[in-house]
Amino acid sequence: MGRPCAVIGTGQTDYRKRLDLTLDGLVRWAALEALEDAGLTFGDVDAVVIGKAPDALEGVVMPELSLADALGAVGKPIHRVHTAGSVGAAAAITGATMVESGRYDRVLVVCYEKQSEGNATWALSGGKSGGQGAGGTFAPWIRSYIQRSGAPEHIGWKVAVKDRQNALRNPHAHLHIEDISIEKVKESPMLWDPLHFLESCPSSDGAAAVVLASEEVARASPGAPAWVIAHAKRTEFASFPGRDAVRVQAGVDCASVLYKKAGITDPRRQIDCAELYVPFSWYEPMWLEGHLIAREGEGWRMTEAGDTELTGSFPVNPSGGVLSSNPIGASGLIRCLEAANQVRGRAGDYQVDGARIALGHAYGGAAQYFAMWIVSADLQPKLADHS
């Protein structure tokens, strides 16, 4: 089943609007920080994986070509992944595959987006003007979830507040809203009913990087490794008659195969925390159900009960998540990276006490692309007995 792979270094830029950095500067910042964390230099890297959302977001075609120099990739393989919003997690998985294959010992994965260089809502509307953007696509499915589950309307506001409160502990986060409150969220302008302005992700600039390594390299690295114990991807069509866009089959399948590979039979109890791709507040309960963490119709109850708070029984997005920073192409890698930092004990002020197994997740397109990984402090994790 391939060789073990571990995250041995992570790096992130701040995710505010970065008019101070070029694209080259942005990716190099994250890459250098990850390499420094891993105790390596560019010269040690065997291969580079680069991921981002559509090239049209910045207007640079196939940017692996123009960023090769900044990423120290000259003379090496550089591989470009693009799977819509899930791309950050997909790039992490491609990097892990490269190590697991036995071919490479040290792989640098870098993802970025610089939304200030373009118009994301234009691009997310398929390059047409007058589009509704991602929120316009997702709002009807969110309404459908609310109708099916009977969730009260304040659940979305609660997620929005919780993730922004977590972000106050994360110096990299784009949004630091000191006076965030339920009142403030529900009084913010309605963008796509039922989504208010403050229930939506920001447009961010930023890059994130991880160094992935073989077992031998990981054991010799200066910091604690995060072992990649399982990863999975699933994709389905954007639309077809009878499609369930709320509880998406590809998402259910992806989670099922992921947990099976990891030996997880009760994700709610055996996973210590999760970084889920939640660009709009309601996707927290939707993915808790859609990825088999909560039973159908009960995801919102976890949010309601405070289980997903930093000190809850199943913390979700301790970093502040996509709701607090969304450099689109990097956002999935940030989820995977933050999950790794949790099990490495490196999450700073938003460290989940005792986290040893964490889930990193991303989705993309019309909620049709899914990429997920589980990282652990242990190569052979001791899973909590749930019987």
């Binding site: 089943m1 391939g2 070029t22 010269g43 065997d46 559509p54 090239d55 049209a56 977001l57 910045e58 207007g59 640079v60 075609v61 196939m62 692996e64 070509l65 123009s66 960023l67 090769a68 120099d69 990739a73 000259v74 003379g75 090496k76 393989p77 550089i78 591989h79 470009r80 992944v81 693009h82 799977t83 819509a84 997909a90 491609t94 595959t97 490269m98 697991e100 294959s101 036995g102 071919r103 490479y104 010992d105 040290r106 691009a123 997310l124 398929g126 390059g127 999975a232 991807k233 699933r234 994709t235 389905e236 069509f237 954007a238 089959q249 590809a250 399948d253 992806c254 019309a366 049709q368």
Partner: protein, 360 residues
């Protein structure tokens, strides 16, 4: 560089089936249809069900159609219900092949469908791919791939490594070969003298020196181990595959040489045996001279028997077509061993080399 990246990981992986659409100037339908034709062809040839393909990976470029997320629509051709395990590279399909080959090395999946597709006809390829250049220093100059290729061709002339006649001879030979390839787009023949009488488009390159962009798609099916022999009597084993990149800035490079091809070829093991056939991604005629020299190809190697990209360049499938052409010749017993080359970026900035072999 650490780690022996040439080491064999021990899992034999072969191409057992290939498919290509014809290269056409303007396909009368959407890109997913091109993809679907190849996917259905692969399934029909092997008798496999869609659900029997463990992993699927495609290469395409949004800028071909000028639509962000254009690749999402290609899913309609790929087939994604019930949900599939798949991925996508914003690169030529040859790089999708690279990732698929690595994925099969891990050992838990055994079959991979690899697709490359492009439909550049709605736009202006030369203008769109000018946006490949560094956005701060080069893109404002309006440097497009053809202009940069002209600089590279000029460097060959200045160093007396080639003549304009050499460029024309590459075109003549490519078109002669393309005449017997039913998938080729340009098949009309011309003499060296006729070609050299044509005007320049990016001196010293003339229009025929630039591969004509085409709409088209290609796909190959990879299978690991003994299962490959069950599906194909004579599979085309991938003995090595590697890709490397060079600096983006032409001023930092010796444009008459390709160290990235030499490195990739060494790591793919190209020189470990005789090379009967080589399909090279020559999108400007002068590039053939650089690629041949960097691969160390001798007289015994037949180059671009399909006509190569100069007879039709289905952008984003072109590199994978090279692989399919070599694999076809191995599977039908015409040759035993061959090399397929793919490139990306201006002036051969990034290069991939794969080595394919049949059973003795």
């Amino acid at each position: 560089m650490n780690g022996d990246t040439t080491r064999s990981t021990g899992r034999d992986v072969a191409i057992v089936t290939v498919s290509q659409t014809p290269s056409v100037a303007a396909f009368d339908g959407p890109e997913p249809v091109l993809v679907m034709r190849c996917v259905n062809d692969i399934l029909n040839q092997t008798g496999l069900e869609r659900s029997e393909v463990d992993f699927t990976i495609a290469g395409s470029c949004d800028y071909n159609s000028g639509l962000p997320f254009a690749f999402v629509m290609n899913l309609d051709g790929i087939g994604a219900w019930p949900p599939v395990y798949e991925s996508h590279v914003e690169m030529d399909g040859a790089w999708a092949l690279f990732e698929a080959w690595l994925r099969l090395q891990v050992g838990d999946v055994d079959t991979a469908l690899v697709i490359g597709s492009g439909r550049p006809s709605p736009g202006n390829h030369r203008e769109a791919f000018a946006l490949q250049t560094d956005p701060y220093f080069m893109a404002p100059l309006g440097l497009d791939p053809t202009s940069l290729a002209g600089l590279q061709a000029r460097a060959l002339l200045d160093r007396e490594l080639a003549t304009e006649r050499d460029f024309a001879e590459v075109v003549v030979r490519s078109r002669q070969a393309g005449a017997s390839n039913p998938k080729a787009m340009v098949t009309e023949q011309a003499s060296v003298e006729e070609l050299m009488a044509q005007p320049y488009v990016a001196s010293p390159l003339r229009a025929h020196d630039v591969a004509p962009t085409a709409d088209g798609a290609a796909a190959v099916l990879l299978v690991a181990g003994d299962r490959a022999r069950e599906l194909r009597e004579r599979p085309a084993w991938i003995r090595g595959i590697d890709h490397r990149i060079e600096s983006h800035h032409p001023g930092f490079r010796d444009l008459t040489d390709s160290p990235s091809i030499r490195t990739a070829a060494a790591h793919a093991g190209a020189a470990d045996g005789p090379i009967d056939v080589a399909e090279l991604m020559v999108v400007h005629s002068h590039e053939e001279l650089i690629v041949r020299r960097s691969l160390g190809l001798g007289e015994q190697t037949v180059v671009n028997p399909s006509g190569g990209p100069l007879a039709g360049d289905p952008v984003m499938a072109t590199g994978l077509v090279r692989v399919a052409e070599v694999a076809s010749r191995i599977m039908d017993g015409t040759v035993r061993r061959g090399v397929a080359h793919a490139s990306s970026g201006a002036c051969l900035q990034q290069n991939l080399v794969s080595v394919l072999e049949g059973d003795d």
